[in-house]
């Protein structure tokens, strides 16, 4: 029971939804798995956009587009044989939750322990975001978190891989390293204070890019975690993509 909620809006358009979401006491609501679990007491109005976002995956000749309402389980099944499907599955150990959690909501939450968030940043997917009264295109790495995500698009031939380090496979990973073989761009997530982004060149750059990113905790020291990132990068760059 989310007791603070007094009102549920089901707007007819994204424009209406955008206008309604104008206070700190309101929130956009897609799959809702994060929001209902948190039950933030300051939220009085839920703006349900489930019916406004696409829940289909479309593969065209060179691109793939995923509606923001597609669930993680749909992605895990559709891309079962690729790293995208694996990441969607590992982002949430529970199939029950994957059946409900949407990719739009997952991106909007910006959780750095989510494998799929790190992977989408590694690809640097394009987001179609409804901001105020217009639909804009913005890359995920440049998105400021404002607006309503309606679609995710990326090139079919994205040459990427990801490694995750967790105490057990179902636990949230403390380090996730995504690597783009084409751009040599690396994204680091996990139990970090942000997504670290850098181009892989020399190890000194890794140290600089990860400065302040990790903390010492039960998973290991900062030094250990940076070492783990370097090991992953070594595997990516030494191995054949």
């Amino acid at each position: 029971m989310w007791t603070s909620v007094q009102n549920i809006e089901q707007p007819a358009t994204l424009l209406e939804a955008s206008k309604l979401n104008n206070s700190e006491h309101s929130t956009l609501f897609s799959g809702g798995t994060y929001l209902v679990a948190q039950k933030n007491k300051s939220i009085h109005t839920i703006i349900d956009i489930n019916h406004l976002v696409e829940n289909k995956i479309e593969e065209k000749e060179e691109t793939i587009s995923i509606g923001a309402g597609v669930t993680l389980q749909q992605i895990a099944e559709h891309f079962a044989k690729s790293v995208i499907g694996r990441c969607a599955q590992q982002s949430c150990y529970s199939k029950n939750i994957r059946n409900q959690r949407t990719i739009g909501g997952e991106i909007a939450q910006q959780s750095s322990t989510s494998d799929i968030n790190v992977l989408l940043r590694t690809i640097n997917v394009n987001l179609k975001v409804f901001v105020e009264d217009q639909l804009i295109d913005v890359s995920i790495c440049e998105w400021n978190g404002k607006g309503i995500i309606s679609e995710i698009t990326f090139a079919k031939d994205a040459n990427i891989d990801l490694k995750r380090y967790a105490v057990i496979p179902s636990a949230p990973p403390f380090v996730i390293v995504g690597y783009n073989y084409t751009t040599k761009n690396c994204i680091v997530g996990g139990r970090t204070d942000r997504f670290a982004t850098f181009v892989v060149d020399k190890n000194e750059q890794v140290d600089k890019a990860l400065e302040g990113c990790f903390t010492d905790d039960h998973n290991g020291s900062i030094k250990y975690k940076i070492h783990v990132v370097k090991v992953a990068l070594n595997d990516f760059t030494e191995g054949t993509p």
């Binding site: 007791t3 809702g32 798995t33 209902v36 839920i46 529970s94």
Partner: protein
């Protein structure tokens, strides 16, 4: 607020307050097989089937269920007429305290509706969101795999 949906095969008109979850609605409707575990989506004790997919009822707000088909374990079998999965769980000794069992059976049933002969990996994945702290997972997985 009001919605119409199908609950265990019955057309149902539900009346609820805006922040009410399906879990609370079902318990107040005396459907006690839906257990209260964490209310955070972590344990799967409150698993139900929504349009044949296993979901945690504690994370589902009632207003999202308009037109859906919701099933709890009461829809699968009864004491006098056990569902084949319930019988299999008994046969394999996959039940101890039983608190997680309705959720486990519903998650397994959802998988079996998708795929008649799932691999053990698929079974493990389907049950990963259902925590058990007494029986463990070996026997439930065996019960579903031998189904």
């Amino acid at each position: 607020m009001k919605i119409a949906f199908t609950l265990n095969g019955q057309e149902t008109k539900a009346e609820f307050t805006p922040g009410e979850t399906l879990f609370h609605y079902l318990r107040s409707d005396e459907i006690y097989s839906v257990k209260n575990g964490c209310e955070l989506g972590e344990c799967g004790a409150c698993t139900v089937l929504v349009d044949n997919k296993a979901q945690n009822s504690c994370l589902i707000l009632m207003h999202t269920l308009e037109g859906t088909v919701v099933e709890t374990i009461e829809n699968l079998g009864s004491k006098s007429n056990l569902h084949h999965l319930q019988q299999k769980f008994i046969d394999e000794g996959a039940v101890q305290c039983g608190y997680c069992t309705p959720g486990m059976i519903l998650a397994s049933e959802a998988l079996l509706r998708e795929s008649e002969q799932p691999t053990s990996e698929q079974v493990k994945d389907a049950l990963a969101g259902n925590l058990c702290r007494c029986t463990g997972y070996v026997k439930p997985i065996k019960a579903v795999c031998n189904e």
